[in-house]
Amino acid sequence: MSVGKKYGGVYLAGARAALPFALATFVLGISFGVLARSLGWGIVAPIVFSVIAFSGSAQFAVVAVLGAGGGALAAIVAAILLNSRFLPMGVAVAPFLKGGPLRRALEGQAVVDASWALASRGGGRFDREFMIGATLPQVAAWISGTVIGVLSSDVVGNVERLGLDVIFPAFFMALLVDELRDGWRTIAVALIAAVLSLVLVPWVPPGVPVIAACAAALLGLKRRSS
């Protein structure tokens, strides 16, 4: 664990593992650029947005809210609700990040769904270098996709026609299957989380069900019988 060379290898392994997601993110980025351009956002604003926010779900939410005639505040609230899932994800990886508050805050920016999930090692452990490595190609793909999208606004990158939108849930499913091998307690947590999110989806704004489902993790307070 001591040499930098080894860390370099882990960063690279993370980046490689993230390539399928980078592809999907790239196509999503194109659709975002096309969509933003069609709303009259111009060329600069969508690109700046992708660079400083780097958040597909939040940016699409802003497109949806502003596109429907909503105001800036409504757009920000929608984005916060959607991105609130990064709070528990950040808490989960926190013990594995390095340095003082500022550095930890910076490293926390590397938390995106696919990287966080890819870096999960089961039993609550996370691989910091792998996560950061996995985020880099996705950032590059998101920004370059946005650029291509705004510049070629009549070429519609169709994520859905290619079935790329299911890459994410299918991959989360794969990680979940791994987690479930941990035992009954994990299975119980997953069942509660599934019920909570299914029940809540029709009633609360998008993003909230994922946060509410975290309540299932409180099962950890129950003492293990072993």
């Binding site: 400083i52 802003v62 994800m89 299918a170 979940l176 994990t186 029709p202 994922v210």
Partner: protein
């Protein structure tokens, strides 16, 4: 135009703050074992909720469409011990084919 820039800056700042909060508050400190146990179970809870909302959720509605079949195929492949990338590729392929022909 101002509305757009306010939204862009607001979302970028809020997003960065949300991601920073956990690592800054929790990081580096020893936590009581009960908190560790809860944090360890956040992963399965979050993963489940992401699967459910990205498979059945559609703008605040529950829907059963090609995505559910695709993710179902992936689950089946995983249960049969298929490699992760194969399972994910099968999910995308199934969903794309269903959308093309139905």
């Amino acid at each position: 135009m101002t509305t757009l820039w306010v939204a862009i800056l607001g979302v970028a700042l809020a997003s960065a703050a949300i991601k920073a909060l956990g690592p800054v508050l929790v990081g580096g400190k020893e936590l009581p074992p009960s908190a560790d146990a809860v944090i360890a179970l956040l992963a399965p809870a979050l993963l489940t909720a992401l699967v459910v909302s990205e498979t059945f959720g559609d703008d605040g509605h529950l829907v059963l469409d090609a995505r559910a079949v695709g993710v179902g195929v992936a689950a089946l492949a995983l249960a049969l011990r298929a490699p992760v990338l194969l399972a994910v590729a099968l999910a995308a392929l199934t969903t794309a084919l269903l959308r093309a022909f139905i």
